[in-house]
């Protein structure tokens, strides 16, 4: 049990499980900091997984697949922003609608391209990419610097979002439209534009989160591939109090527990039914939410539509 935490493979697995969660959580965080809840995440991740995989299967190359998934996510995000930001429709219901639509469009598209296959065709996924020099460091190098490229990307993205949100005018604008859109408008910030932009970019990241599943974690697309990861990202955003670095910490903590349950399943596999291990991540998310919900403070204008010239 104790030696588990000293094994390199445990920490490597933790980072890999965390990668899609980091992309998804940052994507959701961007949307919510701008004041827009995006419940489309589960479906957008499914769409990203399918589109990314399909592009590679059709010969686009792995990075082509990632870009295609990001574009698919952005398109879904554009739809979400058009309905919730421009028209001010219910963010809850629109998001559920986006999830239903993009999940089933992805399945429909998959069935159209591959009508009758029992075992899904595979692609060659991203391999590990050891960073020259750094990967030679004992233990630490093996854990941190022998990862697939998207995992490095996820960590860099945390820094980029963290810097961008707090140290650039654009980041200030995003936070302002999420806290007080009336004041932002008075400052000459285009509220609709900034909110829509944040939703589109955030949704593109969700698409990449899905693409990681088919292009790096697995090598094929299958039904129910996302399996609630999108909802867990939404819980992680709350858990992280809407802050990028805490989101990274939350995703790692969560992925650590997930890696742990996988190991425990191997150790105690016989005694305890596997369903209880699979339940742990969801139970853990609920417990985490209960622990932080009291003191965490959401963006003040989250869920509130903005209408020009109207006070709320």
């Amino acid at each position: 049990m104790i030696e588990l935490f000293f094994s390199v493979s445990f920490w490597v697995a933790t980072l890999r499980i965390a990668t899609p969660l980091i992309f998804g959580t940052l994507g959701e965080l961007l949307c919510e900091r701008a004041g827009v809840l995006n419940l489309g995440i589960e479906g957008i991740m499914t769409m990203g997984a399918m589109v990314g995989w399909l592009s590679v299967y059709q010969g686009a190359g792995l990075w082509g697949g990632v870009v295609a998934a990001a574009v698919a996510g952005a398109v879904a995000g554009f739809l979400h922003s058009a309905l919730t930001v421009r028209l001010g429709l219910s963010q809850h219901v629109t998001g559920i609608g986006i999830t239903l639509l993009s999940t089933n469009l992805a399945y429909f598209g998959y069935r159209m391209v591959l009508p009758e296959v029992s075992s899904p065709p595979k692609i060659i996924p991203f391999g590990d990419y050891p960073l020259p020099g750094l990967s030679k460091i004992p233990v630490l190098g093996e854990i941190l610097f022998q990862q697939p490229p998207l995992t490095y990307g996820a960590v860099c993205l945390v820094v980029a979002v963290g810097y961008g949100l707090y140290h650039t005018p654009l980041g200030l604008a995003v936070r302002m439209v999420g806290e007080n859109p009336q004041a932002a408008e008075a400052q000459g910030i285009p509220v609709y534009g900034v909110r829509s932009g944040a939703v589109v970019v955030g949704s593109a990241l969700m698409g990449v989160a899905g693409a990681f599943l088919t292009l790096s974690a697995f090598d094929a697309f299958f039904f129910n591939i996302v399996n609630g990861r999108g909802w867990i990202c939404i819980a992680l955003v709350v858990f992280a109090s809407w802050q990028p670095y805490k989101a990274l910490a939350g995703a790692l903590l969560f992925a650590g527990f997930d890696a742990l349950q996988l190991r425990l399943q191997q150790i105690w596999g016989g005694g305890i039914p596997y369903q209880f291990f699979l339940m742990l991540p969801y139970l853990l998310s609920i417990v985490a939410l209960v622990l932080v919900s009291r003191q965490s403070r959401s963006p003040q204008a989250l869920l509130l539509p903005f209408r020009k010239g109207e006070r709320t």
């Binding site: 809840l37 419940l39 739809l79 309905l83 028209l87 001010g88 429709l89 219910s90 809850h92 219901v93 629109t94 559920i96 609608g97 986006i98 239903l100 639509l101 999940t103 089933n104 469009l105 399945y107 429909f108 069935r111 159209m112 009508p115 399996n227 609630g228 909802w231 867990i232 939404i234 819980a235 709350v238 039914p273 369903q275 209880f276 699979l278 339940m279 969801y282 139970l283 998310s285 609920i286 939410l289 209960v290 919900s293 009291r294 209408r307």
Partner: protein, 353 residues
């Protein structure tokens, strides 16, 4: 382009909005049918005939509508009070599970006693399952959207465990399914040689009951007041937290009833694929109905017709069945837009300088 609020919403607009949404969804999805290579006309004709084209198709559609009415009511009741219950799927299984635990041999009782008992147990299980997130919401301010969603996964895994372990039917040839509901616990059939069962009457009665509660009781008024403005409701002396908890029991109970109705009326035993997403479709039903209980019945029959029709369209033309879900999701988004159009109008003239 300018957007301005309409002063009032006419009844014809309220009725026309869902129709416009549905037509828009069918028009958009015809693009997907073109992709499959079938003719749009032939596909929608097959959908129509498969859904409502014959006496058998009609009874199949009503059979499918039965759980959708109940989950649609569950969502409508919750959303009306702005309790975002996205967990009707889990509550459905909680209800079905409770009925299985009591009804597959644990209790021997005559039908007049056993059936109401199973219904009550299922409603109670569903209600309690939504009661947890509702309690977390009022006590710890935990967002119920995420908790209800996550509970769906937890419940499904719990059912999966029970079906492979303690509840597994030894006669099921290795399939993970529970032992069948006893004959005295099975809901009566409504028509010979169809699958229509007593659950439909139950669902219709529930719709009438909810309509009555909304229209005629203080409780219905309180739920609406909490949904439209909780601060104002609290100011009026309405116990907001208690109303949210009651609402959760009612909403979860309705979804639980859907589970009991499916397991005791249609399938006869619990499996992991008892619901092909009835909980999620319930959200679409409630939105198309604009949360009106009687509208829920109409919307549920419509959505059921799409699903049943799409099954037969898929068999005859080879269009993937996921088309049905795409149509339904598009109809949901279309409904949001068309109900927006009943409240706002767009003026296209340019702004004067």
């Amino acid at each position: 382009m300018q957007i301005e609020a309409r002063e009032s919403v006419a009844l014809w607009q309220v009725v026309l909005a869902p129709l416009a949404a549905v037509l828009m969804a069918l028009a958009l999805c015809s693009l997907l049918i073109v992709w499959t290579g079938s003719s749009v006309g032939a596909a929608y004709l097959a959908l129509w005939q498969g859904g409502v084209g014959s006496r058998f198709a009609l009874t199949e559609t009503l059979t499918r509508a039965t759980p959708l009415i109940l989950t649609g009511l569950a969502v409508a009741v919750a959303f009306r009070a702005k309790l975002w219950n996205i967990g009707a799927e889990g509550q459905f299984y909680a209800g079905a599970l409770a009925a299985t635990l009591l009804g597959s041999g644990a209790i021997t009782a005559p039908a007049w006693l056993l059936i109401p008992l199973l219904l009550a147990a299922g409603a109670g299980a569903g209600g309690l399952l939504l009661g947890i997130p509702a309690w977390l919401k009022v006590r710890f301010r935990v967002d119920e959207v995420v908790t209800t969603l996550l509970l769906n996964f937890i419940v499904l895994l719990a059912v999966s465990y029970l079906l492979e372990g303690p509840l597994k039917d030894p006669l099921a040839l290795g399939w993970p399914q529970a032992r069948p509901i006893m004959a005295t616990g099975v809901l009566p059939k409504l028509m010979e040689r169809t699958r229509l069962h007593g659950g439909l009457l139950l669902a219709l009665a529930a719709a009438g009951l909810i309509w009555g509660i909304n229209r005629l009781t203080i409780w219905g008024y309180e739920m609406k007041a909490v949904g439209s403005n909780p601060e104002a409701a609290a100011f009026l002396g309405i116990p907001v937290h208690r109303v949210i908890l009651y609402t959760s029991l009612l909403s979860g109970g309705l979804a639980g009833l859907a589970g009991v109705s499916e397991v005791t009326g249609l399938k006869g035993y619990l499996t992991l694929d008892l619901s092909p997403g009835f909980g999620y479709s319930g959200i679409v039903v409630a939105m198309l109905a604009q949360q009106h209980p009687l509208g829920v019945v109409a919307a549920a029959v419509f959505i059921a017709g799409i699903y049943v029709g799409a099954d037969s369209m898929s068999r005859s033309l080879g269009v993937p069945t996921y088309l049905a879900d795409v149509i339904v999701a598009t109809a949901l988004l279309g409904m949001l837009v068309s109900s927006w159009l009943t409240h706002y109008r767009i003026r296209w003239e340019k702004k004067r300088d």
